[in-house]
Structure formats: C-alpha cells, structure tokens
Symmetry: C2
Subunit: 329 residues, 2 copies
Amino acid sequence: MSSMMKIARLCGVSVRTVSRAFSKTEYIDAGTRERILAVAEELGYAPNLAARALRTGQSYTLLAIAGTMDELHTAKMAAFERAVRNVGYSMHILFLPGNSGEDQCLDGVVESVAAQRPAGVAVFPGGEMDRAALARRIEARGFSCVAIDPQGARCSGVKIDRGQGVFDAVAYLRGRGHAHMAYAGPVSDRSRLRGFERAVREFGVDATILAEESFSDQAAGGARAARQWFALPRRPTAVQTYSDEFAMGFLAALHDAGARVPADVAVVGFDDRRFAALAWPPLSTVAQPNEEVGRAAAELLFAKLSGEEAPRGGWSRTVPTRLVVRGTT
Amino acid sequence: MSSMMKIARLCGVSVRTVSRAFSKTEYIDAGTRERILAVAEELGYAPNLAARALRTGQSYTLLAIAGTMDELHTAKMAAFERAVRNVGYSMHILFLPGNSGEDQCLDGVVESVAAQRPAGVAVFPGGEMDRAALARRIEARGFSCVAIDPQGARCSGVKIDRGQGVFDAVAYLRGRGHAHMAYAGPVSDRSRLRGFERAVREFGVDATILAEESFSDQAAGGARAARQWFALPRRPTAVQTYSDEFAMGFLAALHDAGARVPADVAVVGFDDRRFAALAWPPLSTVAQPNEEVGRAAAELLFAKLSGEEAPRGGWSRTVPTRLVVRGTT
DNA sequence: TTGTACGCGTTATCAC
DNA sequence: GTGATAACGCGTACAA
C-alpha cells in the first residue's frame, strides 16, 4: 500500500508537500501539485483513514447498531446512510448478536462501540436487547447517540406516531361509511390501540377488540383473530390490524372461509411492507415513514454532534405515518 | 477518551506494561496485570482500533459492499457477518450510491475501499453497478475480494444454482402428476430457464414458455403472464415463475379471474421471500440458500486471505437451492 | 512556496 | 518482568 512518503520520494519532495497537494486550501505550486497527483494516481494512492483519524481525532464515521435486519429497519438505515453520506460522513454497522439480551452481551457491544471511536451512534430497532439502556450507556461513555423508534415512552429518539396513523385509518374508514370497526392484534402494545380508541370515541363508531396475546407468530395471530371475527354475533365491517403480517394471516383465514374482502369486511394493515402491494387483494395499510425516520435520525444526531443545547422536551422527534389505500378497503 | 498512557500514569508503570496486561501471551506479573485491568475497567478504557490497525497493518475488518438493501441480500449479509464475527473479524458496510452505474462512480467506490484498508471485501448483489468489474478492480488494488451471486457466468464468487432449483421443482411437479408445465418470466435471464428446459426434456413433459421482457415490475409481469395463460388453448397445469414477486402478480390475476390454485393450476415461486409463507395460498417456492451463501462467502474470503492457492477452476463455490412446498402446488 | 519536527495510541524490538 | 524507544501514516505549528 502506498503512502505519502512513497509519493514524496518518487517526486523528490517532502511529505509535507504531498500533504499540501491533496489539500484544497493550502498554497502549493500548481506544477508540483499536478506532478504529485499524477504519481498518486499512478500508484493508486488512497489516504489511510485510520492514520487520519488517529491524528485528527475525528473519524467522520457514524456507527449504526442493528438487531434483526428487517426490511423496515434496513429501509430506515439506508435513508440514514444517504443523509449521512451527503455531509461527508460514512456509516458502519455493528450487528447485535442475536442470542441473548444479557448485560454481559450489552457490555460487549458498548466495548465495541468505544473501540471504534465513532463520531456518533444510531441505535436501530430489532433484536431482544434493551436498546434504551444501550443508548444510555453509549452516551455515558461520551458518544453522541440517537435511538430510532425506541420502545419506552420516556426514552428520547426518533419516534413514529403509530397512534395517529391508526387514528387516520379509522377516520378514513368512517368516511367510507363504516360504523362498526374492530382492532385486531396484541393488546400489550398499546401504541396503535390508543389511536384506535381515541378515534372510535371521537367519531362515535362501535368498537370491538379482537385481542391477541402473543407477538411471536403474527400471521397465526391474524388467523386466530379471523376466527374470533367469524364467531361474533354482530361482525364489524372494518378491521384495523396490528401489522401487515397479522393482516396477511387474517386475510388468508378469511379467504379460506369464503369471506369476501372488502365486500364483507375491510382490512387495514400496518407497516406497508413491500408485500402489502403484492397481496390479494392489495393491502391497504398505514405506512411507516422509513425515509423520514432515517433523515430525522441523521439530523438529530448532527444536532447533538454540533454541541447544540437539547431542545425543550429532550432530544426527540416524532414522525407521522401515511395511510396507503389499496384494495382491502 | 482514555488511552494506555493514562492508565500507565495512574498505575505507575510504563505504557509497554499496560499493553502487556491486555495481551494473552506476554509475560507479566499477575498482580500488576490485575491492578492495570482494574484501573482500565474503572476508566472505561477501550483500545483504539485505528491506532492498532495503523501500527499492526491489520484491521481485522471486512468490508461488505451493498447495493439495494433487499431482504434476500441482507439475509446473506447477516449470515456473512455472523461467520466473520465468529473468527474475530468485524464487518463494515459500504453502500453503493443508487443513482448511477458510471465508471466515475465506480472509481469513487474503489477509492473508499482502499481508504479503509479492509482485510478483505465482499461484494453483495443489488444495484445497477457492474459488480464483476468492481470486484476485479478491488482485487487489482491488492485487496482480497469475493463476489456474492455475481451476474456473469465467467466471474468467480459464490454462486446459486438456480437452474438446478427449477429442475428440482419440475421434478417434484412431475411426481405430482403434472404433464404440461409452463415457465413464466423474463427470458433474457436464462439462469432458471436452463434448468426448466433440461427438466422438461429429461422428464418428457409438455412445456410452454410464457415469455416476459421487462425486469422492472415483476408483479405486473406476473399479471401479464396470467393473461397469457388464460388465453392458451391448452393450459399448462403447473407454472414455474421467475420470482416470488412475479408469482404474486400471477396469483393475484388468477384470483381476480376466478381460477383456483392449486386445483386449476399449480404455481411455484423463486426466492422464498418472507411473504411467500404469508401469501394465499401459501406459496410453494425455490428457496435461495441465504445462510449457506453468506457462510460460503466468508469461507472463500478467508481462504483467499490465508494465501492459499486458487482451487482448480478458480475461486468459486456453487450453493444449491431448496424446494419449499406449500399451498400452491 | 517548501521543509522539519512532532504527536495521535498502539505494538514490536531491544536492552535492562 | 519491565521500561525506553521506534515506528505505523497522517496533519499541522513553525521555521526557512
């Protein structure tokens, strides 16, 4: 690997002059620079970022911590990366080990982060680890850190207004004439449910909750919810589901039993995964704002990096969802 | 950020001794080591990887180059990362800019790679860039590089035996009694088609090609293929499609027209995307061996890194697909 | 306009 | 067992 030293020797100048040749602001003879750049090109010279980071103390590298590489998470990460690249930073990824959420494992992650000396850190969703705790410990080590879509209500970061998303969906369905709706999904996560309850109150629609306990197999949960729906004496004409996967299970069970969608029942998913548009019928859904979340995370992180004061209410941003109307409503 | 120097001062020893304390192999007094490690722990010390890499010339970091972050690609990358982590390496990601496949852009990527001084490089699928050319230029710069699922037949890397996958699917369908089958999809990509043609020849089944030109909107292509199927005087009873997305468009069009699956026609996808199991009916498909590809890529790369000779036939590995039978067959 | 000299944090070589 | 000291490649204060 060629270094500045090598180029310097070949050009008969000092290393300092070579360094100058690559600088945009320093004074150097035009001819000398040209000669140096030519030789550098010839040698396939590229600056050693490790050496530069060591010398300047700045890596211009942000670290993305990822749990499971879900389609939704990667979309946010990709948006984050683009935003970050636009201002001259590069992004590295640290995958969380999938096996455990133990503190010992968390220690290891914090250690890896510190060893890399990133300019900042973004903790993306996915995995079993306590991401809020992780973010706190990373900040305690002196690194600026932003959490994307954090679990708890109290922890700061970029948040998605799921409640409002479901509220909007109910509002839309109400406008289409539905007067009796159901919410189907795990009830221990109240993020979406809150919006549903607020909306049914506000619009005065009859409401049924098709409650589910498990988070594990969403599609199976959807199938169970469909059986609940069939068993109802008075069936809701529209169902807001917890997720697109849940909706798929729900739809499949409906198809199997011969129910027609949306004639017998309208169905709305949540997430807008890529398959939502491919489903039959194409699934109406509340889209996660992946692009905006990624951008907002970058902005938030750069604001922290620039040493700004925390805004009133802490370092948080809430991003709205978007209703996507397709064939199931 | 605390360094070895700081710890050394606090412990009243030299930096060299601190360095020794962290080494597993060097001789050091047990008491001294304990004292040093305690202070390091106290200070939240983590070694500066940039400095270490600069000094040793080894980064123990592999670079993954990613185009589009598709579900299938990320699954391969995650498997690669796990394999790599298991032997003490870490993986960084370089996203390709989405806009152009121009040489100028390719230059930039090669430059970034060189600047990072990775121990090795893995070029993952996705994006419009000429990945074979990229891999070649990276190797020309002196970096070991492995291409995952490369386009051309001639370029080395980890390959997926798509032809055999389709062959297996046809064999399975033949066993289920189907005597007239169709292949539906873009015909300019012959990877799957070859296996289809070989199988129909071998098993003596009637064959129809529902040819498609465009790669862009797979679902729309599937819908067009379904219309072709309906228009056929003698309809094939089973259809191997180009991809799961293509199959979804195909299925949707069949549903719309009232055809029953698999009673009227059996459908097989390709890829085994997550939604395949969620589709209605659940989609039988040829699964991409993401795990195995990721692992094979790591093994191939480490073999190159260790300075082994290239095996006869070049640095390549071909990984078999797996037929997943679900509801559409 | 150019060169000298130093330091970032680590590891490796040598002498003690 | 331990401590000076050099070196990795780069950026920068300072001198020429």
